[in-house]
């Protein structure tokens, strides 16, 4: 079995850096900023190294301090987890605040988010997951409010309340699990689950966990914070939360589903919430009048689609979900960057194509991809989803139909906005001009999308192997339980 102690680095480095950063910032204003970036870079390198190992030698685990599972704190890294850790690293790097603020707060919070997020996906233990989830949550409250506007504070406060309530529900779920199984280690639970968690108590526990973690995963209906936060938080924070952090929560939910609660009612629950999320998100986005909330609603819908994908039993569904999640992680932040310039009515976009043609083209490209137009990556993600859905029970056919109908609505609102871009400017006011530097992250993401288009075949193979690995319950259990000696 593959034991890798450095599995702790992606979690530990940023957390330690987060503690040190305020001190460093105290020494010198500019130093703090550089220190933060450096910490992210180091974390990234450590993560990349780890990912390389994992990719080469298979999933790895490590028990903290030598205490083996089920008693000790166990970290478990497979390709799926490492992919999202890397994604988180890249995201934090890309969306690092560009302004030369002297406040070290946001940097600290970002590093905390980075460490917490990595811990979230790497933990092999239910309680640790909860702890890291809380760390991420706290970091995101702070980040959401870091814009400094009154609306941002209000939104953050409501977000906090909701999230806290969700967390307490999750805690109840964990308590239920513990009461039933007497352990919180995922591998242990995976082995015990068929005996002790199959049935009403298990279902109740899953429901509570789902609702609790669903707050961050933008699951219907505990996502009312989404439009508000995404409209008021700084664009980089929004991009990070919508693009990456929400997926981390979904990955955790996936782990629960695969390892602990592989039962029809659990799958059905996630499916139902996913379908409702798609419906709610797409329809509400269709009626949204400004770009920011359009994308916020659309993000709810997209996460609903991912939830539907994860609710399909078997590796095919997981693969589809991963593909959708990665695609969304690339596209949505770019969208938020574009939307950042036009906070307000969509009509303000009028004539945008004339003042900034590249941005308009990027918008169209992203829209086409997220609707799922071949040969862009979004199509292939959707293809995987439909492939998986149609090979499952008829309930998933309905879900597929909803996703397809949702794509039509999505096309309607995205191209309504595109129509404003390419329509003539209204009298007296044209669309705002972009400063060249502001959209660099968006263009980088657009470029990633295009590159991905030409690498569909290897990407697809990689994602599929990832999914197979993530769905292989005995192997995971064995690795967690036996590893880390």
């Amino acid at each position: 079995m593959n034991t890798v102690p450095q599995i702790i680095f992606p979690v530990a480095i940023p957390l330690i850096a987060a503690f040190l950063l305020p001190i460093a910032g105290r020494c010198h204003a500019g130093f703090g900023r550089i220190f933060g970036r450096a910490a992210v870079l180091v974390t990234f390198l450590a993560s990349a190294l780890l990912a390389w190992q994992v990719a080469g030698a298979g999933p790895a685990s490590s028990a903290m301090g030598g205490f083996k599972a089920p008693l000790g704190i166990v970290f478990y890294a497979d390709n799926l987890a490492m992919a999202f850790v890397l994604l988180l690293n890249i995201g934090v790097w890309l969306f690092w605040p560009s302004g030369d603020e002297d406040r070290s707060g946001p940097y600290t919070l970002l590093l905390t988010l980075l460490g917490g997020g990595a811990g979230l996906v790497l933990s092999g233990d239910l309680f640790n997951i909860f702890v890291f989830y809380e760390i991420v949550a706290v970091a995101s409250y702070g980040l959401a409010a870091s814009g400094g506007s009154a609306a941002g504070f209000g939104a953050s406060l409501r977000y906090l309340l909701l999230s806290a309530l969700g967390s307490s529900l999750a805690l109840m779920g964990i308590a239920l699990v513990y009461a039933a199984a007497g352990t919180l280690n995922l591998a242990d639970l995976a082995l015990l689950a068929p005996d002790v968690l199959r049935g009403p108590p298990g279902a109740a526990a899953f429901l509570l966990l789902l609702i609790g973690f669903g707050v961050k995963a933008e699951l219907f209906p505990v996502n009312s914070w989404v439009p508000e936060i995404y409209a008021s938080a700084p664009v980089r924070v929004t991009s990070l939360l919508a693009g990456i952090v929400s997926k981390l929560a979904l990955i955790v939910i996936l782990r629960f589903l695969v390892l602990v609660f592989p039962m029809p009612s659990a799958y059905g629950l996630l499916l139902t919430l996913g379908i409702l999320g798609v419906l709610a998100g797409e329809l509400a986005a269709y009626r949204a009048r400004d770009l920011n909330s359009t994308f916020a609603w659309s993000s709810i819908a997209q996460l609903g689609v991912i939830a539907i994908a994860f609710s399909i039993p078997g590796p095919a569904g997981i693969a589809a979900g991963i593909a959708l999640a990665l695609h969304h992680a690339v596209v949505k932040p770019a969208f938020f960057f574009i939307a950042d310039k036009w906070r307000g009515d969509v009509k303000l976009l009028s004539g945008g194509a004339r003042t900034s043609p590249l941005v308009a083209a990027l918008f169209v490209l992203l829209s086409l991809s997220i609707i799922g137009i071949p040969p862009l990556p979004g199509f292939w993600a959707k293809y995987l989803l439909l492939d998986a859905a149609f090979s499952s029970s008829p309930a998933y056919w309905l879900a597929a139909a909803v996703v397809l109908a949702g794509a039509v609505v999505e096309g309607a609102y995205l191209f309504r906005a595109a129509g404003f871009f390419y329509g003539g400017p209204q009298k007296g006011r044209g669309a705002a001009l972009f400063m060249p530097g502001e959209l660099v992250p968006a263009f980088v993401l657009g470029a990633v999308l295009l590159v991905a288009m030409f690498a569909i075949a290897p990407l697809g193979a990689y994602i599929t192997s990832m999914a197979v690995q993530a769905a292989d319950v005995p192997a995971i259990a064995a690795q967690i339980l036996l590893g880390g000696n």
């Binding site: 109740a204 609702i211 996502n223 986005a285 009626r287 191209f415 309504r416």
Partner: protein, 642 residues
């Protein structure tokens, strides 16, 4: 053509493997090249020349296909996510590809001259036209269901891009199109995924396997998804509302291209999937419970309704472009009907109608564009008498409308005749009557078109108009000329459709240069047109030899009940041209489908508002508890709570 192939020719020496690759490569290079060079004035001419070369390549490919080669493969293929994506051009695709490149050739030629110079961003239009051609070629040469779907989407979005070039209302129309096309594409997507679910593959053969393996209900779902999905592009009723405004608002030359071939992509896909792969017998055996009808006859009736209703909507239009595009929708119904009859005559008729329609509709649209170019409007209430100013445009339009109305001597008559005859021989009198009725409506409608634009009083503001320049007149006259030649010698067009028909399978239609000879009534256009021309010549002799010389008078030297006509009085009878008919069928234009479309829009709006309201109230904790409770009930874990 088949006669020519008794000998070996140079194209048999060429590696046939490369023909399709050459075609695709040239199209791709042209599209990308035009995006770069588009601003140059030579771009259009370059494109025209390249389309001409592509036509030559297609001709060689056609000869190869005619000599018995099943298809021309492409070296391009991918393996993605465990699926093989491949492209190959068979006879059916070749036929549509020929029309596509031909239409692009004429549209590009037309757009290269004076008309193009007056356009705002002609370079972009040229580039988008090339992009459309590329997308269509990819669609037409698709080798499996996945590449078919990819091509399908590319065609849809390329068309969308070119439709938006008109700006203003064009963008709104294109947006509407986009929503319809997207919905259709999603239906097709779902359908091919269903097939894949059953067979685990996406090859064309898998579709056939799937249909035999599926339950009746599943086959029905598949049929409806395919028919609706592809039908959207073809503007089959009730998915037809988008087409007329979208095609009308597209700038002239591009619009002619779209009108001629774009909607036919839907027909191509329908023929490929429903006729070639599924087979009409399978459709015919798919009975609708409690009726006498099957899926096939239901689709035939849809085609027939698509033929009649849009034609009579066209009759009521007041804009020349709208009138023509509505007819385009109606003509699509003829083609589908012919193909669905399933006899060799019907299939050949339907396919020939595709060819014929492409020639005369392109000519008509180019002619109307010439009118817009000179007179500045296509409003049928604001034109008149242009025959003296733009005689060649008039000739084009006249030949075009004769074709559109399906009268001898133009080619439209031949294909319609074949469709009528196949319906008659197929024992479908009611559909035949509908086809006749639609033709009658077309005659009324096209007369209104030509009358309101070219006949009647010439307005003062049009006194100084000139004929359109040669760069515009020549392409449209050649198109109209093709329409006449293939009407005179339909065998030429039938040779081309033969290649497509062979690819579809089934019996071939024996024909000769002049038409077809059947046991139950024949058509020899050589005689019909020959005698007609001869008789018109005799009429000319009678006219010129008997009686005194003619003396041409001014348009105001006209008897209007003793009234003095002059330039400041508008007396051209153009508005509400058929008042009696309007009084009878006017109340039928309730627009139930328009209402349905609006209803769906309102439903989406209301549902969207509802969801927004749910979130905006923001009692999320309450929802959370509600969902927990409901979820507990749902998961059956309620029992543990008390």
């Amino acid at each position: 053509m088949s006669l020519l192939l008794r000998r070996r020719f140079f194209w048999e020496e060429i590696d046939l493997m490369s023909l399709l690759d050459i075609l695709l490569l040239v199209a791709a290079l042209l599209a990308s090249g035009l995006f770069v060079l588009g601003r140059g004035s030579f771009a259009g001419w370059l494109a025209t020349v390249v389309y001409g070369l592509m036509l030559a390549v297609l001709a060689i490919a056609g000869l190869a296909l005619d000599s018995g080669v099943a298809f021309i493969p492409s070296a391009m293929s991918f393996e993605i996510l465990g699926r093989n994506l491949g492209w190959r051009l068979d006879g059916l695709g070749w036929f549509f590809a020929l029309l596509t490149v031909g239409a692009a050739f004429f549209a590009s030629w037309y757009g290269s001259g004076e008309w193009g110079r007056k356009q705002k961003r002609m370079g972009l239009q040229h580039a988008l036209l090339a992009l459309n051609v590329l997308a269509m070629l990819l669609l037409l040469s698709s080798g499996d269901l996945l590449s078919l779907f990819i091509g399908w989407e590319l065609v849809s979005w390329a068309a969308f891009a070119i439709m938006t070039q008109g700006g203003g209302p064009a963008v709104a129309a294109a947006y509407r199109y986009m929503i319809y096309a997207l919905a259709g594409a999603m239906a097709v997507f779902a359908a091919i995924m269903l097939v894949q679910n059953v067979t685990g593959g996406l090859g064309f053969a898998d579709l056939q396997t799937a249909i035999s393996a599926m339950s009746t209900a599943q086959v029905w779902v598949l049929f409806i998804l395919f028919a609706a999905g592809f039908g959207v592009k073809m503007a089959l009723m009730p998915f037809h509302l988008w087409q007329a405004p979208a095609y009308s608002e597209t700038p002239g030359a591009s619009s002619a291209f779209l009108n001629a071939v774009s909607a036919r992509m839907g027909l191509f896909a329908l023929i490929l999937v429903l006729v070639k792969l599924t087979g009409l017998e399978a459709l015919g055996s798919l009975a609708i419970p409690f009726t006498f009808m099957s899926a096939k006859s239901a689709l035939m009736w849809v085609a027939a309704i698509t033929m009649v209703v849009p034609t009579f909507i066209a009759l009521m239009q007041t804009d020349a472009r709208m009138l023509l595009t509505w007819h385009g929708i109606g003509q699509g119904g003829y083609m589908l009907l012919g193909v669905l009859v399933g006899t060799s005559l019907g299939t050949a008729g339907g396919l020939m109608h595709v060819f014929n329609y492409a020639t005369y509709q392109a000519a008509l649209f180019l002619a109307v564009t010439a009118v817009i170019h000179r007179a500045g409007t296509s409003d049928l209430d604001e034109l008149g008498g242009l025959i003296t100013r733009m005689p060649w445009t008039y000739v084009t339009l006249l030949m075009g409308i004769i074709g559109l109305a399906g009268l001898p001597p133009m080619n439209g008559f031949v294909s319609k005749w074949m469709i009528y005859k196949s319906l008659l021989d197929g024992g479908q009198p009611l559909l035949l009557i509908m086809a006749f009725a639609a033709t009658l409506g077309t005659i009324l409608s096209v007369y209104k078109l030509i009358h309101n634009i070219f006949l009647g009083q010439l307005r003062r503001e049009h006194q100084h108009l000139k004929e359109a320049p040669v760069s515009m007149v020549l392409p449209m006259l050649i198109l109209a000329g093709i329409g006449f030649v293939t009407g005179f010698m339909p065998g030429l067009a039938l040779n081309i459709t033969d290649i497509a028909q062979r690819a579809i399978g089934g019996d071939m239609l024996p024909h000769h240069l002049g038409g077809v000879t059947l046991a139950t009534g024949s058509l020899n256009m050589l005689w019909v047109v020959g005698v007609l021309i001869g008789a018109i010549g005799a009429g000319a002799l009678i006219f010129y030899l008997l009686g005194n010389r003619r003396y041409e008078v001014h348009q105001f030297d006209n008897y209007a009940g003793g009234h003095f006509l002059s330039a400041d009085i508008r007396y051209h009878f153009s508005h509400e041209f058929y008042p009696g008919l309007a009084r009878v069928i006017g109340p039928w234009y309730r627009g139930s489908i328009v209402r349905a479309e609006q209803g769906i829009g309102i439903l989406v709006n209301v549902a969207g508002d509802l969801w927004q309201a749910v979130f905006r109230v923001a009692y999320t904790p309450l929802y959370m508890l509600l969902v927990v409770v409901l979820g507990l009930v749902f998961t059956g874990s309620w029992g543990i709570v008390p």
